[in-house]
């Protein structure tokens, strides 16, 4: 089973939940930091890294001498990574999504493949937990291609807990799409509520079981709870707004370990996730 820990709003506690869940998980588990733009799960799990790979994306290299300025490449490219101006072919490698279309359609064989470095894929172990993460190259604008490289390294022989990036755009989708269950970590504040709605709308079409974790419970108001009841989003865990949690987190400690009184909550959460994954999706939601 693959569990994605996502959110709309950033800073709601995805990493805190992912780290604690990995620590209390029963059975072989891999913790994966898919927030490749700002990975931080390793700060809590403190893995010993044993391997790394550089991920690259193929980008076009055009040979002006062979080019007849026919524009076949420029027309197939959706991203303007290759253009023909005044008879000259120009490439913008940082815009390229690596589809290989230009190389395939060039009738002159004028395009060969160069590479753009996307970042690093790193892996190792933290106590009994297998650990995997991506780290985007500083200056790289696109994270999904690196995330695909991380996904290729995911060990599906056991369960997988994915710390997803915030938001609801391509990186978040790339982190939750392969998951079996999506956890939405939110907080009962207007921002938390607003972005939870966005996240549900973005992920609903994937037709995966989803559940909510309310962090900083006690803060804010009832709007988020009311919404969850209305749309039948189960609340799997409430984590109180407790200064001691923030203190432990700021010291790089995993809450389920640092605050034993919360360990049972994460054990219960793990059980509810398994139940959620096993239950069929309500047909009515898509009728």
């Amino acid at each position: 089973m693959i569990v994605a820990v996502a959110s709309g709003k950033g800073g709601t506690g995805k990493t805190m939940v992912a780290a604690s869940l990995a620590k209390v998980w029963d059975g072989p588990v891999q913790a994966v930091d898919m927030d490749v733009e700002e990975p931080n799960l390793h700060l809590f799990l403190k893995p010993e890294l044993t391997g790394r790979e550089t991920a690259r994306l193929p980008v076009p290299l055009a040979d002006q001498a062979k080019c007849t300025a026919c524009r076949a490449c420029a027309e197939i490219c959706q991203f303007k990574a290759i253009a023909v101006l005044a008879g000259y072919v120009m490439t913008f490698p940082e815009m390229c999504h690596g589809c290989g279309g230009c190389t395939a359609v060039c009738p002159e064989g004028a395009i060969t493949e160069d590479y753009r470095e996307l970042g690093q894929v790193l892996w190792g172990r933290a106590d009994g937990i297998s650990f995997l993460m991506g780290r985007l190259r500083v200056g790289e604008a696109m994270s999904p291609p690196l995330m695909r490289a991380v996904w290729l390294k995911v060990d599906r022989s056991g369960d997988v807990i994915v710390d997803a990036p915030p938001g609801v755009s391509c990186p978040a989708i790339a982190a939750v799409r392969p998951a079996d269950v999506i956890l939405l970590v939110s907080e009962p504040t207007p921002f938390g509520f607003h972005d939870l709605k966005l996240a549900r709308e973005a992920f609903e079409p994937l037709e995966k079981p989803m559940g909510v974790i309310v962090n900083r419970a006690g803060l804010g108001d009832e709007a988020l709870y009311q919404y969850c009841r209305e749309v039948e989003l189960p609340i799997l865990l409430e984590i109180p707004f407790d200064r001691r949690i923030a203190e432990a987190y700021s010291q790089g400690r995993v809450i389920a370990e640092a605050r034993p009184e919360y360990r049972q909550g994460f054990l219960d959460l793990a059980g509810r996730i398994r139940d959620l994954a096993a239950a069929p999706l309500l047909e009515a939601r898509h009728a």
Binding site: A83, L85, M90, F92, M95
Partner: protein, 122 residues
């Protein structure tokens, strides 16, 4: 005299210069001797998630214009226009297309050697 492409918010010489090159509404391609002009719709570039400046540069290059007048030209559009041998005058926003062309003809537009706007992703 070479034709000039001016980024414009409207379809005529008295419309305001569109301050943005890549996402300009239109390009008015003017023959500065006769002030006759043609209008190029840049609507497709405007709608692009990325690469608007590059596509706008392609449109301008195809028009045969040898100079561009606009408010701000980003780095990729600048690179593309430069490669096509098109001169670039920036900072003429706040003027009408006609005034921008007149200012260019009187030599009062700095023809930049580098872009005056950082890329969105830089």
């Amino acid at each position: 005299m070479d034709k000039i492409a001016v980024s414009s918010q409207g379809r005529g010489l008295d419309d305001q210069v569109d301050p943005r090159f890549g996402r300009a509404a239109y390009f008015i391609v003017v023959d500065p001797e006769t002030m006759s002009f043609e209008v190029l719709d840049n609507g497709n570039s405007r709608a692009m998630a990325q690469g608007a400046g590059i596509q706008a540069a392609e449109i301008v290059a195809d028009s045969g214009a040898k100079a561009v007048l606009s408010g701000f030209v980003g780095p990729k559009a600048f690179q593309a226009l430069s490669a096509a041998g098109i001169k670039i005058g920036q900072g003429v926003d706040g003027l009408s297309v006609r005034e921008a062309v007149q200012r260019y003809q009187s030599g009062q537009v700095d023809m930049a050697s580098r872009p005056n706007k950082p890329g969105h992703w830089a």
